[in-house]
Subunit: 408 residues, 2 copies
C-alpha cells in the first residue's frame, strides 16, 4: 500500500509552526507495512489543496491529511475533498447532534459557524473526535482511502490511535512489523556500530543505530506473519545485543534515564539529593520532572560559586586545595547534598563550562560524583557542542552513572 501525507495550514507555509503531524504519522506507518512515498504541506487555499489532492488520488492508495477541519471559512479540507471526488457536501443530523452535545457539556452556546463541521459527503464516514469539535473523515472509493484528521496534535493523535490505526491494521493484515528500541550510554556511535556489525547487516530483523541526546539508540525491526513470530525474532537478536553491549544498555522503548533511575530508587526505597554547578539546576529539574519523583527526590543545591559550595556544606579546605571545579569536588558535593538534605544517595556535578576561564581544550570537561552509604564513585567526561547540549549530556551521564550504582 502506497501512502501520502498532506499537512494543511497557512501557518506551516509561514514557518510559524513546525509540522510535527507528518513525522508522527510517518513513524507509525512502517509497522503497518505501509510505504510512505510523499509528504507535503499546503496552505489554506482550496485551489492549491485540490491540486495536491488530485495528484495524490492518482498516485497513492492511502492519503492521510491533517488540518483544515475547523469551523472557520479558511478551513477548507472538507470542501476540497468534495471537489476532488465531485460529491456534494450535506448536513448530517447525527453529526450535528453530537456537536451540539459537545458544546452543551462545556455549557457553552454553539456558534453557527460550527455547523460546517457537521457536513459530509456520501463516500465519507465520520470519525469521532473525543477531544474537539472537528470529526475526522474516512473516505473510501475506487480502491483508494482518504483519512482526514484535525490539525492539533492533541486531537489528531487520539483519533489516530483509537479509530484510524485499528482500521488500517485490519485492512493491511498479513505482514506484521514489530519494532523495539534499546538505549545505551557510554559508547560512541561508531564503537556501537562496530560491536553490533553482524546484526547491522541482517535483513530481518533490521538494526539501526542512532545518536540521541541520552546516548546511542538501537532500533530493531522485524517483519513476520504473526506478532508472536516477530517478537521472537526480536527477542533473539536482543539477547545477543545484551551480551555484546552489557551494562551499557540502560533502557528500552519509551524509557527515560530519569524514569529508570526513579523506578530503581522507589524499588530500593532510597532517596536522592543532588548538588550541581556545571548543569546549573538541570539535573534537579530533570529528576523532579518525573511525576512520581516526590517520594524519593529530597532536593537539589545549585552552586554558582565557591562561596555557595561552602554555604551548602562543601569543606572549604578541599576547595582551597583543588579549586571548586576540580574532580575531587564532585564526590564532596554529592556527600554534602546527601547529608544536608538527608538523602541515602547523593550526586554532585562540577566542571568548567565557562569559555575563557581555562584553555580551550578543557572547555566542557565535567566531573560526576555518586555517593551512597557504601560507595563513592567519580567519573570525568567531556562532550563537544554548544552549552545547552553539553549540559544535557552531563545530566544524562550523571543519571547513567547513578543507574549503574543502583544496579550494583
Amino acid at each position: 500500500m502506497k501512502a501520502e501525507i498532506i499537512s494543511i495550514g497557512t501557518e506551516l507555509l509561514l514557518g510559524e509552526i513546525t509540522d510535527t503531524n507528518a513525522p508522527f504519522l510517518a513513524a507509525e506507518l512502517p509497522a503497518l507495512g505501509i510505504d510512505l512515498h510523499w509528504i507535503s504541506q499546503v496552505g489554506d487555499n482550496q485551489a492549491r489543496l485540490v491540486k495536491v489532492l488530485k495528484r495524490a488520488w492518482q498516485r497513492s492508495d492511502l492519503i492521510l491529511t491533517t488540518g483544515g477541519l475547523g469551523p472557520t471559512a479558511d478551513d477548507i479540507t472538507r470542501e476540497a475533498i468534495a471537489e476532488v471526488l465531485e460529491e456534494r457536501l450535506k448536513g448530517d443530523p447525527a453529526l450535528e447532534r453530537e456537536l451540539r452535545e459537545f458544546f452543551a457539556r462545556l455549557a457553552r452556546e454553539m456558534p453557527l459557524t460550527n455547523l460546517k463541521q457537521a457536513t459530509i459527503i456520501p463516500a465519507a464516514q465520520a470519525i469521532p473526535n473525543p477531544s474537539g469539535t472537528a470529526p475526522g473523515w474516512w473516505v473510501e472509493r475506487d480502491e483508494r482511502i482518504i483519512v482526514a484528521m484535525p490539525g492539533p496534535p492533541g486531537e489528531m493523535q487520539p483519533m489516530w490511535h483509537e479509530a484510524v490505526l485499528p482500521r488500517l491494521r485490519h485492512r493491511t493484515g498479513g505482514t506484521i512489523i514489530v519494532s523495539k528500541t534499546l538505549k545505551t550510554f557510554g559508547l560512541a556511535e561508531a564503537r556501537v556500530a562496530e560491536m553490533v556489525a553482524p546484526q547491522l547487516s541482517s535483513a530481518n530483523p533490521t538494526l539501526g543505530v542512532y545518536a540521541k541526546a541520552d546516548g546511542i539508540h538501537l532500533r530493531l525491526t522485524a517483519k513476520a506473519q504473526s506478532q508472536e513470530e516477530a517478537e521472537a525474532m526480536i527477542a533473539q537478536v536482543e539477547a545477543r545485543l545484551n551480551q555484546v553491549l552489557g551494562k551499557h544498555i540502560w533502557g528500552a522503548g519509551d524509557d527515560t534515564l530519569e524514569a529508570v533511575v526513579g523506578r530503581w530508587l522507589l524499588e530500593r526505597k532510597l532517596s536522592l539529593a543532588v548538588m550541581e554547578s556545571y548543569t546549573g539546576g538541570l539535573l534537579a529539574a530533570t529528576v523532579s520532572g518525573c511525576p512520581e519523583a516526590a517520594p524519593y527526590f529530597k532536593g537539589g543545591l545549585v552552586t554558582g560559586s565557591d562561596e555557595a559550595r561552602v554555604a551548602c556544606g562543601v569543606d572549604y579546605r578541599l576547595i582551597a586545595e583543588h579549586g571548586g571545579e576540580g574532580a575531587e569536588i564532585a564526590p564532596a558535593m554529592a556527600e554534602a547534598a546527601r547529608s544536608r538534605l538527608g538523602a541515602a544517595v547523593g550526586v554532585g556535578i562540577t566542571g568548567v563550562d565557562e569559555p575563557g576561564t581555562v584553555a580551550a581544550k578543557t572547555f566542557g570537561t565535567y566531573h560526576i560524583g555518586v555517593v551512597t552509604g557504601r560507595q563513592r564513585r567519580l567519573v570525568t567526561g567531556s562532550y563537544p557542542g554548544d552549552r545547552a547540549r553539553v549540559r544535557r549530556w552531563a545530566v544524562a551521564a550523571a543519571l547513567f552513572e547513578l543507574s549503574k550504582v543502583l544496579a550494583d
Copy 2:
C-alpha cells in the same frame, strides 16, 4: 516571486527526524516579499525527486532544496537536478581543491567518495559551505532559480545567511518587509486581542497575536519601499502598543525572559539566588542557561519536602502554621535563598503540583515570592495543562515578576 521548498531525505519519510529546515526557510521568505506556495518532503529516490523537481520547475520561480548533497550513493540531489535540466555533471578542479583543503585542515584523508561533492553542471555555481564538505548550488536558467543547500541545519543556516539570503535580497529588491515581535506576560490572549483591536484590523503594518510558552507575542509586519519607511511605520504602531499594554511588555525580538532579567541584574550590579519546590530546579536551570549568568547567579536550592525547606533555612514555625505549599512560604523561601547564598535578590516558588494531594481545582496553583533589601512581593497564579507546561509557565511568571521588581 513564487517559491517552493523541497526537503530531501528518507529519514523524513520514516518519521525518524522532523523537518525543521522547511519551517526555518518558510519564516525567512516573507521578509523578502517572496510568496511560498508549496513545501514537500521526498526520500532519497532519484526517480521521485526528479518528478517533484520537474513539477516545481513548471510552477515555481524559486526552488529551495535541502539535503541529498552528501558524499554517499544515496545523496542524489545533484544527479536529480542535472536530470531535470538535462545537463551533464562534471568534476570541478577548484571545488576539488577546496574539498582537499577542508580535509587537510582536519588532518584527515579524504575518502574518494567525497569527489562526488566536487561535481557541478554548467547552469550551477557552487555556494561555499564553511561548516561542511557539501558545497551548495545556485542554479539559474529560463528565469528560474534552484538553490540546493545541505540538510544539516548547522550547515544550511550559515549558508543561507551568508550567501543565499543576500543574493535573494538583491534579486527581489523593491518592496522591503520588516517584522518586529513584542513579548508580553500576564494577560490572556483574548484580552490582548481586545486591547489591540484597532491595530489588529490594520492592513499595513499587520499585527498578529500568538500564545507562546513565555506569554503572548505580538508580531508587527510592515511593507514599504525602503527599510527606513518600514521601520518608521513599525515604530509608530509600537509606540501605541506600548501605551496600551504598558508594563506587560517585557521584551522584543529574540529576547528571553532570563536574558532580560540577567541584563538588568548585571546593569544594577545585583546578584540572585532562588529556592524552588513547584518547579524542581527548572528556574535555576533556566537562569543558569544564560552563558553570562556566572557573575550574578549565586545558586539555587531545590526543596522537595518540608524537611528540605527547613534544612535550607525556612523557619519551621512558618511551615507548621501555613504548610510548605502555602502562599506565605514563597517569600520566606526567597528570603532564605537570599541569606543562605548571600545574594541581593531572592526568588521563591512553591505550590501544589501533585495531583491527588489536594482537591482537583487547586491543582497547578503556584506562589512566587520576590524579595530584595527593600521589597517583598508575592504573586499567586495557576495555569492549565500538563505538568511540564505548568512548570515552564511558573518559571516564566517568576522571571516576569522579578523583571518588574528590577524595573522599579
